[in-house]
Symmetry: none
DNA sequence: GTGGTCTAGACCACG
DNA sequence: GTGGTCTAGACCACC
């Protein structure tokens, strides 16, 4: 479910955080669904429980999840968050496209590149369905 | 020329590095053009010379610039680097588009968003020309 | 383990780097083995920790080691690197042999000299074993 | 006659020095032969005369050449120097062979590699003669 | 004046 | 305790 790369320069707690955010915004983890317990996840991915705890804490302060004492951590239902996350991604794409333009790549080439990506992803999804 | 944000979680030397990479790939700084001297830049942006030195060293090890003792640092002419940089940007865009698709945004919406960006940038350029 | 010569024209951080590269390619330091901590090594060989840090950073960028924040620096398992290192040494030998030839030393003499070295080294190893 | 590489991290005056040493020990420049004048060489290889001067000075202090005021710089006839230079090269070869042994390369492989070099060089010389 | 190295000392993030 | 970054200040080699 969660993949950690020790070689990745990003800190482990951030990687865990990022992975969960992705799962939540992609609705793989649905609102009110329970996250694995800190200890459980820690033992599965062989990480210090303190580190997992830190990730969960961060998810909570950023409103991705809520915590119920004695019960566990659960996915929040927060539409605003989804919107801001989407905007965030779009901003990143925008920034990168601006870079490409600055390197003198023309609109045509950029669009054909984007179309290639979209086709690639769709094909991939079809393939998995079949 | 170079802007540093102290609040940015990225380290200063990395910010300086990134800024120069952008200037170099966008050919604002042309091959064999001289970069500001370590001390000069350091005093301009109020940063310790050692930190600038670190950025320049990184630019050098990554082949963006070459350094001549007693003379200064100069932009390298490295086409391969431009290609790999472009690929890098395109990979990032791809990743982000995949995220959007996972959040169930459809191709139509994504494309209209991209077109909006392209128009925006073109308009901006026209505006500056006029 | 590591020996530094202050009189050596090579910079200290390069000497430290070279020493570790030798230990790693000779498999004295095995893959995933931990290097001494920055501060520890610094205090042992009486060098500023920043200098050691610089050596370790260089080892990392050249893929000899990987660094884990809060844990330490560890030897990488990189076969390609061994091959390129070997080729590098062979190139140096080749260069020097060419120099000898240019000074009119004949093949016979060169070979007898090489054989002497090999015998010497083997004898040394035997001696240490016995 | 002399080739300088600006990208080479070695300082220019050292490169000039090294090149002349090679020419002298290989007897391409014979004893009492005149070296190009400082100004002449400087203008040919597009280097600051001060830098050439420094190289010549170093060649002189190391007894490779002698200088006659108002006449120029001339190659010394110094057999001892040749011997020590040869020994120096052989030491370097020895060091590198020891490294190969430490990386568990066996004598057989090393010798076959040396033979390949010798053959390669001889063939090259024959080729140029023909 | 230019880059490069080194020291001393400090602070932060990570596990 | 571990690596990583930054500052301040100094010295050297090069051109």
């Amino acid at each position: 479910m969660i993949r950690i790369d020790v070689n990745n320069p990003k800190s482990i707690y951030e990687q865990v955080y990022d992975e969960f955010v992705k799962l939540i915004v992609a609705k793989v983890l649905k609102p009110d669904e329970k996250l694995p317990s800190v200890r459980e996840l820690a033992s599965i991915i062989r990480i210090n429980p303190n580190t997992i705890q830190k990730s969960y804490k961060l998810l909570e302060t950023n409103n991705y999840i809520y915590s119920v004492k004695g019960k566990g951590n659960f996915v929040n239902n927060n539409e605003e968050l989804l919107v801001s996350y989407t905007n965030n991604i779009m901003d990143k794409i925008k920034e990168n496209i601006i870079l490409l333009k600055k390197m003198d790549m023309d609109n045509e080439k950029i669009l054909s590149f984007i179309n290639a990506i979209l086709k690639g992803v769709d094909a991939n999804v079809e393939g998995k369905r079949a």
